[in-house]
Symmetry: C2
Subunit: 307 residues, 2 copies
DNA sequence: TAAACTAATGCCTGAGAGGCATTAGAAATT
DNA sequence: AATTTCTAATGCCTCTCAGGCATTAGTTTA
């Protein structure tokens, strides 16, 4: 039995007339007669009672008709679905992102993609940059939002943006009066930083900028979670560096101040394996590129030299 | 696209090896390669990435695989179902029955059929004999349990049984003391009967028997529903004739007594149109025949002559 | 009785299902 | 580096069957 037979059967069952059914199928009536006959023989079931003048469905055919219609519709649907899948509009995509990426363009980007391609099943996972590189290497993740630069060569990067870090201060801190702070002003402050392994480049970049400003920062606490960092600032343990977009993590008693002069920059990029031809990934990347701010044309910009 | 292509696709997708897949399908590997290629061309979708050495599914193929498996399983199922339907094990059957048939073998018969052929959808409807004949004529009912004889010729009858009628009396009626009553004993009793149009044969049979016993019964009430008849007996309005199997319609204050000598008989038969080839009907009839008591071998027995 | 309608039959053609032998590129082995 | 092995693809063949046209054979209508 082939789908062709089902098409023939449904047409005859609906028209109850071999001639009209054949016209509908763009076949000749004799051929259609034979198709139906061969289907009946194969099934071992009589589907129509035909007199020379009229055609009737048997009870078995009535039962079969429902199944046949459903099968044909589902076959049609399957064809549409696989075409969509080939265009990357159906399927699954495993994403990862750093905690810092959670508060910038990334959520908006993911939401936009979700709306445009609702049939793509997204898996989301928060991982730090190094964990993401490993997950991408192992093929456990298709695309990661992480913070360059990377030493790994097997990943391709799609730079998204580079945002300056700002200083988080307790509200009653003397420096909070000023709207902008040069790094030197922080020479004697106790710092709360992210652990170096979680973002070695940012860590070293900051130390380099401090050195250029003539001091070595006093680190009193190393904490991974941004929430915790800000909590410690609120508790007066020290001051902290926070990506600008994380200022939306409001907390009473904490204020944010921009850094005057060369500020540490936290670049954000989408990383993926170029060898993965997954078309869902390609579609996602197109959306990613829409969200790249125009001033990022030159990726060099997002990584100010630190000497 | 034909089911054949789906079979090929699923085999290759599961084996990830054209040679093994071809063996499974009892095809040659070159032909299978071409089938897959033609499917890909028709869909406009690449399903496999093949190097000379290994075969991999594309993302689109993974999506398609689920649909293809489901389609093949459902096609197989549809074939089984239509075969069952042809054997009369699937489908629908519209039954009708008189009120009297509701209390004898008919419910047990229907239940037995239900258990044996759960995939046949039964429609049940209570109609009197003449209504059933009309419904059968119009094709609104496939089989009816009714009371012969019929004047109509277009129906075939399958006699089921013939049961004697018994007398329903109020418990405190003087005649209730005897265990059997000759008809003559009822010569002066007020009778509650079913209206003649609902069962003309039974009505006339009873009148005939009374006449032979030397009296003409005094009918005080004509009521259709058995429940109501018995209610009237309990109320002391009169005595009534009830099919023996309806004695299970117990009601305090009412007793039943057999008739001595020739008793009116209510024959029950299954009636259907022989021109309806519906195999569900044939299967049902087989069950009906199992429920015919052996002493009914000669259908003449169930209709004692009334002169 | 003739005409119209309609499913089935007979016969033909060409596409393609399916087979066999072989090629060609990759991986494993020597 | 050379050889062998493995495996998908190609070339070419046959023969079935999808599908067409002309016709037949019942049935209904005029």
């Amino acid at each position: 039995m082939e789908l062709r037979h089902l098409h023939c059967f449904v047409a005859v069952a609906e028209e109850l007339h071999f001639g009209r059914a054949a016209a509908r199928l763009h076949l000749t009536q004799p051929h259609l007669s034979r198709q139906i006959r061969s289907l009946e023989v194969e099934l071992g079931v009589q589907l129509f009672t035909r007199t020379k003048r009229q055609v009737q469905l048997t009870d078995a055919a009535r039962v079969f008709l429902e199944d046949a219609r459903r099968l044909l519709a589902q076959a049609e649907q399957a064809i549409q679905t696989v075409k969509q899948a080939a265009r990357g509009e159906v399927g699954q995509l495993r994403l990862s992102f750093t905690g810092a990426a959670l508060h910038g363009v990334v959520p908006a980007l993911i939401q936009a993609f979700r709306e445009r391609y609702p049939q793509v099943e997204l898996t989301l996972q928060e991982l730090c940059t190094v964990e993401q590189v490993e997950a991408l290497r192992l093929g456990k993740v298709d695309l990661g939002f992480l913070h360059p630069p990377l030493t790994e060569q097997f990943l391709r990067l799609e730079p998204l943006l580079s945002e300056p870090l700002v200083i988080a201060l307790r509200q009653d801190h003397p420096l909070a009066e000023r709207s902008k702070l040069p790094l030197q002003a922080l020479a004697n402050e106790p710092f709360i930083l992210h652990p170096r392994p979680e973002g070695p480049h940012l860590y070293d970049q900051f130390l380099g900028l401090c050195e250029r400003a003539g001091f070595r920062p006093r680190v009193v606490q190393e904490v991974a979670m941004h929430q915790t960092v800000i909590g410690l600032v609120a508790a007066g343990i020290g001051v902290a560096l926070i990506p600008a977009s994380l200022q939306e993590l409001l907390r009473s008693g904490v204020v944010y101040r921009a850094i005057e002069g060369p500020a540490p920059q936290l670049p954000l990029a989408a990383a993926f394996r170029p060898d993965q031809g997954a078309s869902v990934l390609q579609v996602f990347l197109k959306v990613v590129r829409e969200f790249v701010p125009p001033n990022l044309a030159d990726p060099a910009e997002c990584l100010p030299p630190i000497e």
